[in-house]
Subunit: 202 residues, 2 copies
């Protein structure tokens, strides 16, 4: 299906894949999209799609203009001793917002995701599959809790909302180091510490 | 504008416009709503809608008669022993969302607040003046921290986003009691516990 005249590196082909991907993600959500389906609609060989994009999350990151592909960036952020996991997570998350180059992308992504049911579904599926699954895998198996891991995501989302969208004064004025010191231990608590009502059910 | 010629039927018309507006805001977010569309669904002339409401933001403000007046409800929620403050706060917040009567209002309020700079400003001023000021006043003076109190607000906002807007599976499926047990101690930690880098600067 890689048709005549289309060479790898063809800007138009790449743009066409992205246009199709944008439509598919918007229509089908994250989980409903397949790279094969995008390739078919775009009229390109799946191998060519993989030549341009490392995977579904990379394609989604490009379509949504995310600053990073979590499949690449998260493993780097999570790597390290277990006791610093919470702090590394919040520092990584804040870093996505702190750069003037990437903050507009984060703002747009958050706003569009929260504005509609379709956006919320897309965010839910993407975060569950590409983000939270990686975060929970960094925790020893016997201490994993999907609910507490989701609370980590919720807390980070709230931090992004509070500091960058709503800009509550004390959060907007805080330094990254202050927020890492405040929030890191709380994320660590959610990720690692067993809570009184937790006995592996969650 | 309360003119002499007003018939009792006008009250119903006004209430009907508000009911339609509430549904539209909940469904479409703030930007997606048009007064023309509300008038059409309500079966009234757009000029009549303008007779009752100065504009979209005025209509929204009235629709957003929040489920509770924080000046009344928050002191009740905050009252009690200091050690249960975090749990009472999260239970109060979740209560605003759990009722089918008030959840659409909360959804609309969150969505509209996060969609635009104007909404963000409105939320920031409202939360700072009417909510966080009351929460921090419930903490002994020497342990108050505007930044940690703002983190309480950010965490609750994230919980609302994660459970009710994005509907992350483990948060959407949790019981209120589970979330109170999870999040209450964390809010208590932010509100009360001195953190290593806290020395009254924040």
């Amino acid at each position: 299906m890689a048709r005549t005249g289309r060479r790898p590196g063809n800007v138009d082909t790449r743009a066409q894949i992205l246009a199709v991907a944008r439509a598919h993600f918007a229509e089908l959500g994250y989980d409903g999209v397949s790279l094969r389906g995008i390739a078919r609609t775009a009229g390109v060989d799946p191998a060519l799609l993989h030549h341009y994009f490392a995977g579904k999350s990379a394609l989604f990151a490009e379509v949504m203009q995310l600053p990073v592909d979590p499949a690449v960036a998260l493993p780097m952020a999570l790597r390290g001793p277990l006791e610093g996991l919470g702090e590394r997570l919040v520092r990584f998350f804040l870093g996505l917002w702190e750069s003037p180059d990437t903050r507009p992308q984060m703002l747009t992504w958050f706003r569009s995701s929260l504005a509609t049911e379709e956006g919320a579904q897309r965010l839910r599926e993407f975060v569950t599959r590409e983000v939270l699954s990686r975060v929970i895998a960094a925790v020893p198996a016997e201490q994993r809790s999907p609910r507490r891991t989701a609370l980590v995501g919720a807390h980070l989302a709230g931090l992004g909302v509070g500091r960058y969208l709503i800009r509550l004064g004390p959060l907007a004025e805080a330094t990254v180091d202050q927020l890492v010191a405040d929030v890191g231990p709380v994320l660590q608590h959610y990720l690692i510490a067993p809570l009184p009502d937790e006995d592996g059910l969650a």
